[in-house]
């Protein structure tokens, strides 16, 4: 298991530039969309983007993990059980690093957004776990049954994108203001969010294990 953890830690570390790239894109988009550009506000909202970038990176890396690394590790003599555990360790590590850095920034940057951010950490953790689990399921569906996944992706992201875009356009708010609003809502950790996270994680774990336990290597 030690060797397995070494691999997944390194794999996670090597995935970090992807998080930073996604973060940079989100920050640039946010700066373009914002009505004002104030450094403290940007610093305070950056962790929210970092967390979003971490979630998106987990989803993006999932495909490569499924297609390349899982069969490769089986071919190198690792057990499917250890690979399953390592894969979840990798996801937890990305989330932990992103949440840790976010908490640190919020602790250092003064202001209301930072205070809200810190009080939001339990909710953020739950959202990241839920989102990355759903992303992992979607990524795996894409890997196994491409056309089904494409339809699902269009429906899910189209719905979210449409609702989000409509809200922004209708409310006349920029993304930073929306993040702030969401943070206020999530400051009191809603119980259903924890339930959603647990159910999503359980569903993902069950789904991944069902596929992995008899996976065949075809490199």
């Amino acid at each position: 298991m030690k060797r397995n953890l070494r691999f997944w830690t390194r794999y996670t570390w090597e995935g970090m530039p992807a998080v930073l790239i996604v973060l940079a894109i989100l920050l640039v988009l946010s700066a373009i969309g914002a009505s004002r550009l104030e450094l403290t506000a940007l610093a305070a909202t950056a962790p929210a983007y970092l967390l979003l970038a971490a979630g998106l990176t987990i989803v993006m890396l999932n495909y490569g993990t499924q297609v390349v690394y899982i069969p490769l590790l089986i071919s190198m003599g690792e057990t499917r059980r250890n690979i399953f555990l390592g894969y979840h360790f990798h996801r937890i590590l990305i989330i932990a690093v992103a949440v840790g850095i976010s908490a640190l920034i919020w602790a250092l940057v003064p202001g209301e957004i930072s205070r809200l951010g810190l009080s939001n950490i339990p909710s953020i953790l739950a959202i990241l776990v839920a989102a990355s689990s759903l992303g992992s399921i979607m990524g795996t569906i894409y890997f196994k049954w491409k056309w089904v996944a494409t339809v699902l992706l269009v429906v899910v992201f189209g719905t979210f994108g449409g609702v989000g875009g409509f809200s922004v356009a209708g409310g006349g708010e920029d993304v930073a203001q929306l993040v702030e609003k969401a943070a206020q809502f999530l400051a009191e950790f809603p119980w259903w969010l924890a339930l959603v996270a647990v159910v999503a994680l359980g569903a993902d774990a069950a789904f991944q294990w069902l596929l992995l336990r008899k996976q065949e290597v075809r490199l």
Binding site: F7, L72, S75, G77, K214, L219
Partner: protein, 293 residues
């Protein structure tokens, strides 16, 4: 101390690819696994090393089941033939990353040997697998197999795409490693005659069945090609295990597999010759092969 599989069956989409295969591999030998395309060689090697699950049957190494057992799996290395087509995900992996993953997972990985073989094969670690030629990919699989130091090491078509010089290098390397460590090697290959000199035992697999597991030399000593006038040949091989009859006009040639105590009498009209491993294999698995005795 042995590596065994018992009653292995593998079904893909309703088709039985392996049919009740049982096999025991003794430590300290070089085995050749030979069979035609689609005979089930890669499937068998994959199941032996738990890379693919069997539909039925068990595999164990030194008494320990192999499936989902890290302790048993640490004794095994199956360095697969790498296919890096457009659809393949591993094409984007660099050689050094591939070897680094192997070094992480194989407990006794020999880093010095890795560097030596990278230099010997003139491989560039920074190149992606997808940019390598077929021969270079074979070199990568050979490096993984050799450097893993696994007591039971299985190679799938290790010389595919290699030029004659690289093939010689591989056989030399194999024999040196075998002499130094006594590791067990199983080599699946199509280039039978070239490999015959290094294979101590040969496993012939055909249409999902293991037809034969035998000491290579002992096998060659009991196989004869009998040719001559058809009726004389037929008379000479009565009661013998006859394969692959070939008729040309009034002449006939057959391959016979003798059992202990059996022999074929050479006469004025019947010629009896020893055959090489490739001919013996063709006699067993060639399209017109059939068993008369």
């Amino acid at each position: 101390m042995s590596f065994t599989c018992e009653h292995i069956t593998k079904v893909y989409g309703g088709r039985e690819v392996l049919k009740d295969v049982s096999l025991t591999l003794e430590p300290g030998k070089i085995y050749g696994l030979i069979g035609r395309n689609g005979a089930g060689k890669t499937t068998l090697l994959s199941i032996l090393t738990a890379q693919n699950p069997a539909t039925k049957g068990t595999v164990s190494v030194d008494g320990e089941p192999v499936w989902e057992n890290r302790k048993a799996l640490e004794k095994l290395c199956f360095s697969r033939e790498l296919n890096v087509g457009a659809e393949s995900g591993i094409a984007a992996i660099k050689v050094k990353e591939y070897l680094r993953i192997a070094a992480t997972y194989y407990a006794d990985w020999d880093k010095d040997m890795e560097q030596r073989l990278m230099a010997l094969f003139e491989l560039d670690g920074k190149k992606k697998l997808g940019k390598l030629s077929k021969g270079m990919l074979s070199m990568v699989t050979i490096i993984v197999a050799m450097c893993s130091k696994a007591p039971y090491t299985l190679l799938d078509e290790p010389v595919a795409g290699l030029d004659v010089v690289a093939r010689e290098q591989f056989y030399k390397l194999l024999l040196e490693e075998y002499a130094a460590t006594g590791r067990t090697f199983v080599i699946s290959t199509h280039i039978i005659e070239e490999a015959a000199d290094v294979l101590e035992e040969v496993i012939i697999i055909h249409e999902g069945h293991v037809l034969l597991v035998e000491d290579t030399q002992a096998l060659l000593e009991r196989v004869r090609y009998v040719s001559g006038k058809a009726d004389e040949v037929d008379a000479a091989v009565v009661g013998l295990e006859v394969h692959h009859p070939e008729t040309l006009g009034r002449s006939k040639g057959v391959t016979v597999f003798l059992k202990p105590g059996q022999r074929v009498e050479e006469t004025r009209d019947v010629s009896v010759q020893m055959v090489n491993l490739q001919k013996a294999f063709v006699a067993l698995c060639g399209e017109e092969a059939h068993h008369e005795a």
